[in-house]
């Protein structure tokens, strides 16, 4: 059913479960490395392979990261909690259980405020957080044979346990109600805000494309005006912000179609298919999973002291929402200008450039225009460009003091991106300074007038606007290094048009 029709008749309720892979140097319960992309089964040991007699020991930094995220999400931190074994038989975990937390999560009862753009302006939603708990990631299975490399129809599977045991935080929201037709945008804004929050804490690189942030999306519908929620489906492994939005939207359309045809929404797990933009049915949850959770006797309880928690709270950095309102105020930005910065993921870069001495306006202009274009061209993220905010600030300073024109400045940026060194080094090596010396410029101006007698005549006759063509000729002759303003003055002077 079309989305608008669906929204006229039904009200969605959302729930999001997000897994964040922590950026610790070692795994959750053993000292194996956690590098992404290592050769298969090269970051494994007796603990994460579940060899008999091995015992897990908790990574203290992972606990600290979990508490810091909990605090940033306004959660209460448990004074005592345990790890639990989640028992299931699937070869992605060689122990036949995953170490997780069950009814004693480390962090509970928080919230995250998110902002959605609407035609009427930005609108804020409060997403309540039920819990944040610690667990370990699973190994990576690849399915061999069959038509599509999917689990269905595969002949067999092969498993790489490098990822098994990497620390994970699972962040679970309470049901999100009253979003109306903004449900897909709210879901996306929540995941984006959570990503920025995690990144500001420095506890994970949160690269969705590498799977270090993964999202499961729960959706149910109830008829408008009803007060009893419908049956929900759970769409697994939605791995980009765009997909989060599309997964919610397409699931609302699908469920509305089922309900309108008099059908019943099945409580099931679905799998989002990036290529077609919607989900397909997976394992049915009709028969409830039976994980037989029990406290893991190999791991002693986690009991963070109030002193430690307060110390971590005091050490939290400025969080993204606070940072956004601060820069909006300090840089005097409109809602749209702030939105552009947020969408370009450029706030931190611009802030660092301002700290290095540039004006907010110049810093924003360079990052959002020239550098964003370079990032797009090289298919990389803005922050991954090989130029530092300090270098950008130096280029801006050179323009401001008149040493470089904007055109020359772009060539300097080229040089820095090419690895030719700092801006000053590039200026020196490429000989890129503005020619504003009248004797040097004068020769180029005379030449331009001599080469273009028709244009010169027009200017003599009072058509001052035609001077642009001669300025262009001068710029060309000086390979862009002329001070265009001074060249124009000289042209007009010589042609008596001033």
């Amino acid at each position: 059913m079309a989305y608008d029709d669906a929204m006229r008749r039904y009200e969605p309720v959302l729930g999001l479960e997000t897994h964040v892979e922590l950026g610790t140097a070692s795994k959750m319960f053993c000292s194996c490395a956690t590098e992404f992309g290592a050769a298969p089964n090269t970051q494994v040991c007796p603990v994460c392979l579940a060899l008999p007699g091995s015992l897990p020991v908790v990574n203290g930094t992972a606990v600290e990261s979990a508490i810091r995220l909990g605090l940033a999400l306004n959660c209460s931190i448990a004074s005592w909690c345990r790890f639990a074994r989640k028992n299931y038989f699937y070869p992605d975990m060689p122990k036949n259980y995953q170490i997780s937390q069950h009814d004693e999560p480390l962090c509970t009862d928080g919230y995250l405020d998110v902002v959605v753009d609407t035609p009427e302006g930005p609108r804020e939603f409060r997403v309540e957080i039920e819990r944040v708990h610690m667990e370990e990631d699973t190994g990576k299975t690849s399915h061999v044979g069959g038509a599509t490399g999917r689990i269905h129809g595969a002949d067999y599977s092969i498993v790489d346990y490098n990822r098994a045991g990497i620390p994970l935080l699972e962040i679970v929201t309470r049901p999100i109600e009253h979003t109306g037709d903004l449900a897909p945008q709210v879901a996306r804004a929540y995941v984006a805000e959570l990503r920025d929050l995690v990144r500001s804490l420095g506890i994970s690189d949160v690269r969705m494309e590498e799977g270090s942030l993964r999202c499961d999306v729960n959706v149910s519908l109830m008829p408008r005006g009803a007060d009893e929620w419908g049956t929900r489906s759970e769409t697994k492994n939605v791995n980009s912000l765009r997909s989060v939005e599309r997964a919610v939207r397409s699931e609302i359309e699908r469920q509305a179609g089922v309900l309108d045809a008099g059908g019943r929404v099945a409580q099931e797990t679905r799998h989002f298919q990036e290529n077609i933009g919607r989900s397909i049915s997976g394992r049915s949850k009709e028969e409830a999973q039976d994980y037989r959770y029990f406290p893991d006797p190999d791991l002693v309880p986690v009991a963070p002291s109030a002193e430690w928690v307060e110390e971590l709270r005091a050490g939290l950095p400025e969080l993204p929402a606070a940072k956004r309102s601060r820069v909006k105020r300090e840089w005097e930005l409109s809602d749209e200008e702030l939105r552009d910065l947020v969408n370009a993921d450029a706030i931190d870069l611009v802030a660092a450039t301002v700290d290095a001495g540039a004006s907010p306006t110049d810093a924003r202009k360079w990052w959002l225009n020239e550098l964003s274009r370079r990032a797009t061209e090289s298919e990389t993220e803005l922050s991954a460009l090989p130029i530092t905010p300090a270098q950008v600030a130096r280029v801006i300073a050179l323009v401001t003091e008149g040493t470089l024109t904007n055109k020359l400045a772009r060539q300097v940026v080229d040089g820095v991106l090419n690895g030719e060194g700092d801006p000053d080094t590039v200026v020196e090596a490429r000989g890129l300074t503005v020619v504003s010396d009248d004797s040097a410029l004068g020769a180029a101006v005379d030449q331009a007038i001599a080469d273009n007698p028709d244009i010169a005549e027009k200017i003599r006759g009072g058509k001052v606007a035609a001077a642009g063509a001669l300025v262009g000729a001068v710029m060309k002759a000086t390979r862009g290094q002329a001070d265009a303003g001074r060249a124009r003055e000289l042209i007009l002077e010589r042609l008596g048009a001033q």
Partner: protein
């Protein structure tokens, strides 16, 4: 009354991917019932005021420093695998028995 039913044993067997025949189910149900009944005697002295014990030692907060160390070389990691392909553990088809 028995502490565990034959149906519960069959359910556990299925979760554990154990193929038990009818005779084995009867036998195991009886044995497990004996074991659970014996252990249940503890319940008679440990009433509601004593929480179930999950850890025998009164330890909390045992943490490891976050430093990585080399694990097993892949040949050794895979040495016990019944089947290896592409330096990965090869396992039988996962879905199919039930779905």
């Amino acid at each position: 009354m028995s502490a565990i039913t034959r149906d519960e044993v069959a359910h556990l067997a299925r979760l554990s991917r154990l193929a038990l025949n009818e005779d084995e189910l009867d036998q195991l149900a009886a044995q497990l019932d004996d074991i659970i009944s014996a252990v249940a005697k503890v319940q008679e002295v440990a009433k509601g005021d004593i929480p179930p014990t999950s850890h025998a030692l009164p330890l909390t907060n045992v943490y490891r420093t976050d430093e990585s160390r080399p694990g097993l070389p892949p040949e050794q990691a895979l040495a016990g695998a019944p089947s290896v392909e592409d330096q990965r553990f090869r396992v039988p088809r996962i879905l199919g028995e039930e779905e």
